[in-house]
């Protein structure tokens, strides 16, 4: 390869590695946009290919241009910069201006390094280690998630090492290209294969709302995620591993965002403003025990919703209506007005309704007692208007749906029993969980009717909507809830559990009303368990929880547990989220793998040499093995730049000996000639000289 091509490649790879720094570093600052830093870090890298003066000129020009486009005025900026500097001198943390120039300096520094050291293993190695270090650090301690980028970074690292090698020792040999190809394919194969080594969970764990974050009206399958518009449910969707937020300090918990009340026959729309206690910051009856909980949510980017793990977060009445304070009460968001909509959705009243990237959230987690769940009283806490809304069913709902509802709950009396009956109905074996082959109702077809009687294949929206309709048909006030499941466990960070909630964890379930208990969540989707959704008060029962068949409480308790185990047996995915995280390779695992690969690469000669010693020394010297040993020696010599073709062994021996200042090659060659050209018995001394020569060549 031409030297300048190698050099450009080398620089480009180093620049690409450096660009991995931007996302985590800038993500932890108050900067909104990354783009200025891409220019600040990458342009000087390429400018380093030019002369000193051109390099400095372009870098400076680049800095000023970026500054101009980002800040608007260069002169003003220097004023701010001076202020910042004064602040830093007097002991404050640096502000944006200093940070900006610091990044520019980092860019300049790396550009000088890449330009002046080319080609250098030291630089490549330093670049790789520092990049992976930065990624690993930010991945562990901040919201930044490097799981996907780390693979690109590792592949880039390997390529950078390869190009460095190429620049250091130009050679025509194909072996190097083949080996880098092999290495790359091994890494890629590992990357794609390792999470599925023990089973296929690619699509099944996930669920939920179609077409969310993109909000496009495009055709074709939507992407999974949280979205606002639920007017037309159904149809397949694609999985999306994108991170929505990371929750710290809470156990595995479903995350509620909002509920919807009006079923149109195709989907859900929001209810008109309702005004009862239950819609003013209350989710459960005041008799229900609640446990306060505090969670730290870190969002990948600003969102338009705030998920919460239990009761509505703390609310205070103000003159301007109900105001919610998310975050520390003392150090909340003083400039933000936060309201809760009737659906339970928390909204930041600003332009774009964007939330901060980090929210400290306090709420209470209700735990229902068996008695509370078993209540069967006339609904009186809800207003008539609310009852009407929560029992609403479209006029066009086919009668067979209502008939089925009656049939399912024929043996049940209380709302809780009826809800359990509906849930059990979906687990009768006829229904199937799938995200791909899901129909979307056309024309007059009712979404629920189609699912219950025709397709029986669907994801959470199908199950939850159908459950809601069936419960409403039974006269139980019900609403449809959107949010996220508990997400993937990240393990314990700084003493607290963390969960990663991704787009594919978007989910929907239902809440039905029990007078005296409040809104009780119900997980209707098969292969999901509501263990994390419905908190049951068990402390008092656990002692006498031994199965006593005639004890109705213990019975129902036992049922719950049995059901979970059945789920595990029937469908081994169930709530496998936690297991999944532990099986996929974390960032540190990648670094260890890369480190091992690097050690293998750096020591490949020693390893190969040892293997060759052991291999050849352990077998008797015959004509064939002598020729093979000599071939291997020739291969190594060729790799070291000696010309083999057109050379006789003795010509080569002279050159090799002159190069290494020995005469071992001449001796070895004499023995080789004796064996091959005089066709005599091979002399065992050949091995001795061969070993000496291999050690010399491969050291």
């Amino acid at each position: 390869m031409k030297t300048w091509v190698t050099r450009i490649l080398y620089t480009a790879l180093a620049a690409y590695l450096l660009s991995f720094w931007i996302e985590p570093i800038v993500g932890s600052t108050t900067f909104d946009s990354d783009w200025p830093f891409y220019f600040l870090l990458i342009v000087p890298m390429f400018a380093s290919l030019l002369t000193w003066s051109a390099f400095l000129g372009i870098s400076l020009l680049n800095f000023l241009i970026v500054l101009y486009f980002y800040h608007g005025s260069i002169v003003d900026w220097f004023g701010i910069w001076m202020q910042d500097l004064m602040g830093v001198v007097s002991g404050n943390l640096p502000n944006e201006a200093i940070f900006f120039s610091a990044m520019a300096l980092i860019g300049l520094l790396f550009a000088v390094l890449v330009g002046r050291t080319y080609p250098s293993y030291g630089f490549a190695l330093g670049m790789i280690v520092s990049t992976l270090g930065v990624m690993a650090y930010f991945d562990t301690w901040t919201l930044y998630d490097g799981e996907r980028n780390i693979l690109y970074a590792i592949i880039t690292s390997l390529l950078l090492l390869f190009v460095t090698d190429l620049a250091k020792r130009p050679s025509q040999s194909l072996v190097r290209f083949v080996s880098i190809g092999l290495l790359l394919s091994v890494v890629v194969a590992l990357a794609s294969a390792s999470p599925t080594l023990e089973g296929d969970w690619s699509d099944r764990i996930t669920t939920s709302f179609r077409n969310a974050t993109t909000e496009g009206e495009g055709s074709g399958p939507g992407r999974v995620g949280y979205g606002v518009n639920d007017e037309a449910l159904g149809g397949p969707f694609e999985q999306d591993d994108g991170i929505v937020f990371i929750a710290r300090g809470v156990p595995a918990r479903y995350w509620r965002i909002e509920s919807k009340a009006i079923y149109t026959g195709k989907g859900w729309v929001e209810a008109p403003v309702l005004d009862s206690n239950y819609n003013r910051g209350q989710l459960v009856d005041s008799d229900v025990d609640t446990t306060p909980e505090q969670a730290l949510l870190r969002f990948d980017r600003r969102q338009t919703f705030v998920p919460y793990g239990g009761e509505y977060p703390q609310a205070t009445e103000t003159e301007s209506g109900t105001e919610f304070r998310v975050g520390d009460i003392e150090q909340a968001f003083p400039n933000e007005t936060i309201t809760m909509q009737p659906s339970g959705k928390i909204v930041f009243e600003n332009e774009g309704q964007a939330t901060p990237r980090t929210i400290q959230l306090r709420y209470s987690v209700p735990a229902f007692s068996e008695e509370q769940l078993a209540l069967n009283e006339e609904v009186s806490s809800l207003t008539d208007e609310e009852k009407q809304v929560y029992l609403q069913l479209p006029d066009a709902l086919p009668d067979r749906v209502r008939d089925l509802a009656t049939e399912i709950t024929a043996d049940s009396e209380t709302p809780n029993e009826k809800a359990n009956a509906v849930e059990a109905y979906f687990r009768n074996g006829e229904f199937q969980y799938d995200t791909e082959n899901v129909a979307q109702p056309e024309g007059d077809t009712d979404y629920v009717d189609q699912f219950l009687f025709d397709t029986q294949i669907g994801y959470c929206d199908n199950f939850s909507t159908s459950a809601a309709v069936l419960l409403r048909a039974n006269g139980i006030p019900t609403r449809w809830v959107k949010g996220f499941t508990m997400g993937d466990a990240r393990g314990v960070v700084q003493g607290e559990e963390e969960y990663t909630i991704r787009n594919r964890h978007a989910h929907s379930w239902v809440e039905y009303f029990i007078e005296g208990a409040g809104w009780v969540p119900l997980e209707a989707t098969i292969s999901f368990s509501d263990a994390n959704l419905l908190q049951m008060e068990r402390e008092t029962d656990t002692e006498d929880n031994t199965p006593a068949t005639n004890d109705p409480q213990a019975n129902s308790d036992g049922n719950t547990q049995n059901r979970l185990q059945e789920d595990l047996l029937i469908d081994d995915v169930t709530t496998g989220d936690v297991q999944e995280e532990s099986r996929s390779i974390p960032v540190w695992g990648w670094i260890v793998i890369l480190f091992l690969v690097a050690i293998l690469i750096w020591n490949r000669k020693v390893i190969e040499r040892q293997v060759m010693y052991v291999w050849w020394m352990s077998r008797p010297l015959t004509d064939g093995s002598l020729v093979s040993m000599h071939r291997y020696l020739m291969k190594r010599l060729r790799a070291n730049g000696f010309k083999i073709d057109g050379r006789t062994p003795s010509e080569l021996a002279k050159e090799v000996d002159a190069y290494y200042e020995t005469n071992d090659m001449t001796r070895l060659t004499a023995l080789f000639e004796q064996a091959v050209y005089a066709e005599q018995e091979p002399n065992s001394k050949y091995k001795e000289y061969w070993k000496i020569m291999i050690r010399r060549i491969m050291s």
Binding site: H630, F672, E673, V676, Y677, A678
Partner: protein, 316 residues
Amino acid sequence: MYRPTVQSIITAIETVIVGKEEVIAKSLTALLAGGHILLEDVPGVGKTMLVRTFSRAIDLDFKRIQFTPDMLPSDLTGISMYNQKTREFEYRPGPLMGNIILADEINRTSPKTQSALLEAMAERSVTVDGELKVLPSPFFVMATQNPIEHEGTYPLPEAQLDRFLLKIEMGYPTFNEEIALLSRFEKEEPLETLHSVITKQEVELMQREVREVHVSSAVKQYIVRLVHESRKDPHTYLGGSPRATLALMKASQAWAYIHNRDFVLPDDVKAMATSVLGHRVLLTAEARYKGKTPNQLIQDWLDTLPVPMDREVNEV
């Protein structure tokens, strides 16, 4: 590292000839391989002197033939003359009846006479008046050819060039060699004082020993590949014949022998390749216009052709 006997011959010859060790060694190679050599060079570089010294050092019967355009075959082979006394035809041997023949300026004589010489070289016998006369052994022809004169010359046809085992160029001596040459011939004639160091019988023995030198299959492959290369190369109009292959092997054997080895190395083949193939390869007109020479081509082949390093025969 020559064989001691060979070393003594070379040392002896070098007392007369200055700085022509390679030419001497190659001439000895041809003699021991039972072939003949064609010395091609401008006049005055010591071709004749070399041959005379050679015959003196080896104690062989030396004959010289100066070729002219009017020479007849019988001038070489000898004729039967009528003897008045005995009243019988008597055979008068020609100059071919010697051990070392210097055929000077072989391209000056007519093709008829040339072919008589070449036939004798190949057959090692002549027919005079219907009678077969066997030439003495060893029989070694060193023909010289002057490459610069074309007027009135008859260049040897390709088929006849093939009969010379080696073609050797003498070349001019270096500056120091020429000084040494002047000093050596200043006061005396060194050839006069040269004594033979080896007998005719010993030469015949050595010739037999050369044939015993081992040629491994790897080396045979190398030889054949090299000759095949001369046929495949787009620059050649005519490549080496199987006789060339054979010649290369014999020359390599002799070269290995004088270097005190009883087996042939690829190095021997390389050393002999130019001298053996140089006059047997004809270039295309295009290659000649490009300024290529056969020796250059042969060197190219040697530089690129992999040297076989095992016993298995792999056809390429």
